[in-house]
Symmetry: C2
Subunit: 197 residues, 2 copies
Amino acid sequence: MNFKESHHLILNNISRFIHLTELEKQKYVSLLTEIRVKKKDFLMQAGEITKYEYFITKGCLKVYTLDEDGAPHISMFAIEDYWTGDISSFMTKEPSRYYIKATEHSELLGISRTNYDVLFQEIPKFERFYRILYQRSLISYIRRSNHGISLTAEERYIIFKKKYPQIINRITQKDLAAYIGITPEFMSKIISKVNRM
Amino acid sequence: MNFKESHHLILNNISRFIHLTELEKQKYVSLLTEIRVKKKDFLMQAGEITKYEYFITKGCLKVYTLDEDGAPHISMFAIEDYWTGDISSFMTKEPSRYYIKATEHSELLGISRTNYDVLFQEIPKFERFYRILYQRSLISYIRRSNHGISLTAEERYIIFKKKYPQIINRITQKDLAAYIGITPEFMSKIISKVNRM
DNA sequence: TAAAAGTCTTAAACTAGTTCATTTTTTTTC
DNA sequence: GAAAAAAAATGAACTAGTTTAAGACTTTTA
C-alpha cells in the first residue's frame, strides 16, 4: 500500500494513540478531503456551520473571534501536525463564531461531519483516538483558562514563548497580542521589557 | 437488579451518551468507590497524585490552585451530576497542582486509575462516553479561556450568573471572585453595581 | 521599484482592577 | 445564644493594561 506524504503525516499522528491495520489505514484516508488555502484566505468564517475537523500538513493558521468592537481574539495558532476547527459548531451544527485564516500558504486534511460519524461506526477504535485527543486538548485549555484569569500578560507571554518557540517566529506581534489578550501597543512594551531583562 | 440512588444518578448521566445493558451497568458500578467528604475537608491536595476521577451525587466542591502569593484561583465548582478531578495528574500520574475542597457535605463516586483502564478493556463503549464527555468539557473550556482574555470581569460575572444560577447561590462571593479572577473587594463592587442596574 | 498598506514603537492621558486599611454583617462554634 | 471567625462593604492610593495619536520601519502590490 502506498500513501502520500500528507497521509503518512496524519497516520503517524494517529499511531501515537491507537494502532491501525493497513486496511483500516486505507479506509481512514479514504474518508479525508484535501484542502489548500492561500495566505490571508479563510478556511472558514463566522456564521458558517463548520463542515470539517482539520489536520494541518503544511502551513500556519489562526483561529479567532471578533468582539463587538471588531477586535480579534485568537484562540489558537495551528501549524503542521496540529488538529483544528470549531468543535462546537462541528458537533452542534450551529453557526460558528470563529474565523480560521491562513497566515501562510497551508495544506490540510479535513474530515466531514458525515465521515466523522461513519468513522466511528466502521473503526470504533477511533472513539479511543478522539477520547485521548480531546482529553489532552482539555488539559491544555483548562491550564490556559486558569492562566488567563490568574497571570499577568507578561507571564503569559513568557510561558507562550517557552512552550511554542516554533510558533512565535512565524506569527506577527499583533497576532501574538490578540492571542495573549492585550493590545499590540502593550505587547510591544512587554517584548522590549522582557528582551532587556 | 437493584441499584442505589447514587448508582441511578450516575447511570442516568451516562445514558445520555451511550446505552448500557443491565450486565454492563452492574459491571460498571462494581468498579466505583463511594466517597464522602465533610464541609471544609479536602478531597485531594496539591502534591498528591490524583487517584480518582469523580462524579458528584450530592454536595458542592471547589477545584483550585494556589499561586506563589498563596492566592486561590478556582478552576471549577462541581455540584450534583457533575464530573470532576484533575485529569492531568490522573492521566500522567504526576503530582497535582490542585486542591479539591468541599464547600458543603458531599457524596461522590470515584473511579480509580486502574479501574478506568479496566473499564475500557471490558466495556469499550466507554471510550465513546468519555470521548463525548471530554469533547463537551473542551468546548466549554475553550470558551472560558477566550472569555478570560477578552471580557471584563463584569461581563464574566454576568455570564456566570446567567449560565450557573443553581451554583451562584451556593457559593461565597469570595469564592466567586477567585473563579472570575479578581479580588473579593472588586467582586463586591461589581455585584453592587450590577444589582443597581 | 515606487506607492500603499500594514506593522512596530513611543509617549501621554486614561480606566479596570489591586492593595491596604477599617467597619459592618453574617456564619460558625462552643 | 454569646463569642469568635469569616465574609462583605467601602474608600483612598496605587498599578497593569487601554486609548489615542504620531512617526519609523517593513511588507505587499501594481
